[in-house]
Symmetry: D5
Subunit: 127 residues, 10 copies
């Protein structure tokens, strides 16, 4: 069962804004309609608040355990994406957060869902 209590954070190491991207390539949950497993890639992109404002970053091992907690949950693509966005926004209160889920799909249709929180920082727009 998706368990946000597994998530931990650590203080950001900088007083300047920067951008972090974590790409979890081994996500799996279960389709609530068919009972068959779904497989996808979950990407987090976020800008923590500066250190002086108490900014924090999600800790990697805790993120992995949190994402594994969806393994046997029956849940739709759209709900997974919004759920992860909400749990991480609550944990980090970041300047910006973008969750993208990219699913292998079924029956010849692949899907990509993205949900955001806050303003995109300049560092990201200027790739």
């Amino acid at each position: 069962m998706p368990n946000p209590a597994l998530l931990e954070a650590f203080p950001t190491p900088s007083d300047t804004t920067f951008v972090i991207e974590h790409i979890a390539e081994e996500f799996t949950s279960v389709c609530p309609k068919t009972g068959h497993p779904d497989f996808g890639v979950v990407t987090l992109r976020f800008a923590p608040r500066p250190a002086r404002d108490g900014g924090v970053c999600v800790e990697l091992k805790s993120l992995k355990l949190y994402l594994q907690s969806f393994r046997n949950e029956g849940i739709f693509y759209e709900a997974v994406t919004n759920r992860i966005r909400d749990d991480l926004a609550r944990l980090m209160n970041p300047l910006w957060l973008l969750i993208t889920t990219d699913w292998r799909g079924r029956g010849g249709i692949r899907s990509v869902i993205r949900a955001a929180h806050g303003e995109v920082p300049a560092e990201w727009r200027t790739r």
Copy 2:
């Protein structure tokens, strides 16, 4: 025959805007001029209205059946693209909808057609 009655929708799970992309890689219809089959990829990108405004998302299985209903229809590339845009805009009344059809082509010429509805949301522009 293209049949929009096959399309079903479900309520969006969120009160925030987010973006959904469905990529149907196995589309086929028939060229009305030559009678030969056409093959292409149909991509939908849309932002549903928020839940509190009655926003809805197209249901995946119904989308698949709707796209299969073009299988033996004689119809041009441009008409397919505008037809799908119109049928889905009517179903979902979304904030934004972009239909892209990418055709394998004939005689050394490949084609890509795109037709839109509404305003592109910030989430999409900041990929």
Copy 3:
């Protein structure tokens, strides 16, 4: 309905053995179990008999029409592959024929089937 009567042949232009490969990337038939369309790539590789022995090659346009005749046929992967092998072996009586069908698959499983007739010629082994 698969229609081998659509197939035509022309005399091979050479008295030496050579190898021909035709890759039809737009094959579609229907799954007899679910009624959903299947999509795949059909590859023919063959060595016609020499001209002095009455060797013939399948004509390309007729091959295209023959493959299109499977469009609305309910037929399994294995049967498609053996059927094409048999129809083309009967048409050309070649020294060698190898049919490979490569399917996009369903539910996370892709399939490739290959069925042969006759001896692989040296020209092919030494690619």
Copy 4:
């Protein structure tokens, strides 16, 4: 000899703006300096005017024959690109037209030329 009389158009099927891209991967002409053949890819991207304003689209088969009419013409890369832009702008009077020619090149230098007409529509900018 490049022959714009070969070009035909048909009425756009929609009253909304949309974007069409045709990619002709088998273009060849002749270098007027060396007499050697040049090979390239010609891409058209355009937005027809709405149907109610008499908007038209170039017909695909006529486009193919028009592009083939350059086959034995001695003409430079830059002139090919501007010529196609002018001929198609005259035919369609589109809201926007962008011609890109991508040449295989000679002596270790590849070239890409692009010439435009009109304003880029929002549908294209938001890919």
Copy 5:
């Protein structure tokens, strides 16, 4: 728990030897040491016995359910591969069977395991 009782077979449609390849890209089991999930691709290649000798092929949907039955099983890479080889050899008694598992790995090391049964047929050697 890996459950070979889920596997079903159907009679091969041909009296000639041919080769079938099924590529299951969404396999997951659990590492018995760490409890973390493992992800991999399982590929089956086999040649069924001819129809007149009672040859059978594994049915695709049953194969999918069988592979899903490893989802929460703690089992090593090597054991998964040998187990699938043994279960399918028992089901089909094929002329040839090759199981390849390709794992995403851990800590910078990826692994590929392959286990075979019977003789490789000529159709496969001459790809």
Copy 6:
């Protein structure tokens, strides 16, 4: 018109066997049935006889002009391949020669033709 008189050769620089591969990526001829241009890649692989036996190699610029002489010729894929094999075998009398033509194709079917002369040398088999 295909003109083998354009071909020139130079003495091989070695008394040992070696292998030469020339890949001409810009071949074009005309389909005798439809009058439309065909585009393909022509690959020559050959082993010249040793210098002491009078071995020769085709000169590159002359090869280019020879291949350009097919530009406006109406000729089928199979005939192009056998013709080039025969013209080059006559010019060089090599230990081994393999001509492969790889065509962009028409109507969803691509073709590859290969025609050989002589025995494959050990240097090539052990790539």
Copy 7:
């Protein structure tokens, strides 16, 4: 131990703004938590001040030695990125500096971190 004293700079060769990108594909440091090595790619992008304003560029060999000085340091991804940004900003006082670190990751999660200094110049935005 990360040693910024290893860094050297040379005067920029131009009075106009330009952009330099160095991609160091062989970076390694040590995870302070597990003691296991981390591997990544470090990319620097910067615009030196004009020559007349005393602008300088980091010297390549000194950059290499500086990056090697992290080899046996226990340090987190986020700290590596901010540290390199700070050390290079101090050395060059550039108009713009963007550090991107792209890590191979652990346990199925890859990470990319980016930290900037100053304003993105027009030359970079218009790639």
Copy 8:
């Protein structure tokens, strides 16, 4: 020795703005520090002034000879890039010019340098 006297120009064929890109994939010069050769790709992108304003384009063969004149010159990456930008800006006085050099690098670090002149035209920004 880099020799701008080798460069020649021809009048632009159009009164509208357009964009030309030349990609020279076989550039080599010598590192002034180590004496070892450097290898890279030099890309020119420019918009000539309109014909009525006396706009000119660099001639391709002269560009090739000019780039070859760096072959045995000891010169740094940054200087090569600024030098080519200055020589071509002087030759063509274009509306816009962007020189990008992409170097294979040394000791695990690859470099890309870009130097510009004038304003980016709309045709390029809307690729």
Copy 9:
């Protein structure tokens, strides 16, 4: 210092021959001549003896620690490869073992070294 005492083995799970491939993508050692770090990919392929003959497989975590023990060792490519082959042959006494090291290289030259022990099993030859 390379430490074979770190290596552990476990009994093979099968009485039939099978093949295991481990690909360690994050290997690093030090060049004894220049003191600069070397980076490469180390691939092990082996066939353990059957269980009834006491066959064993190298344990993955111990393999990782063993490969990490080369991190600060000054050692040439050829010696690394032969050393790993010898240490693993001694540990497992396998039917077959092939070590391949693929190095990123220096100064424009990449290297691949391979050293073997025992006979290649049929399972591997028929990939």
Copy 10:
């Protein structure tokens, strides 16, 4: 001028046969006919004799200098390949040596030349 006196060798570190591959991606010489530079990749593959038989390996830095000595030499593709094979065979007297040169080509034709010495060892055949 190609200078084999630059080549140095060191004793092989093993009494077993093994295979070494060096890939020099930055080779350049000059076409003796046109005076234009040629660019290519030179690959050496060889098996040194065992240490007890006095086997030696070419030293990497000396190989680099030797290959650089072709930089301003006017020499044909075929002669480069045979020359390198002869110089290295004389230096190392290896069990096996295969030289492959892969040229970027001119006028739409790329070339690959390969010249060998001795018998291919089993380690290489079973890649």
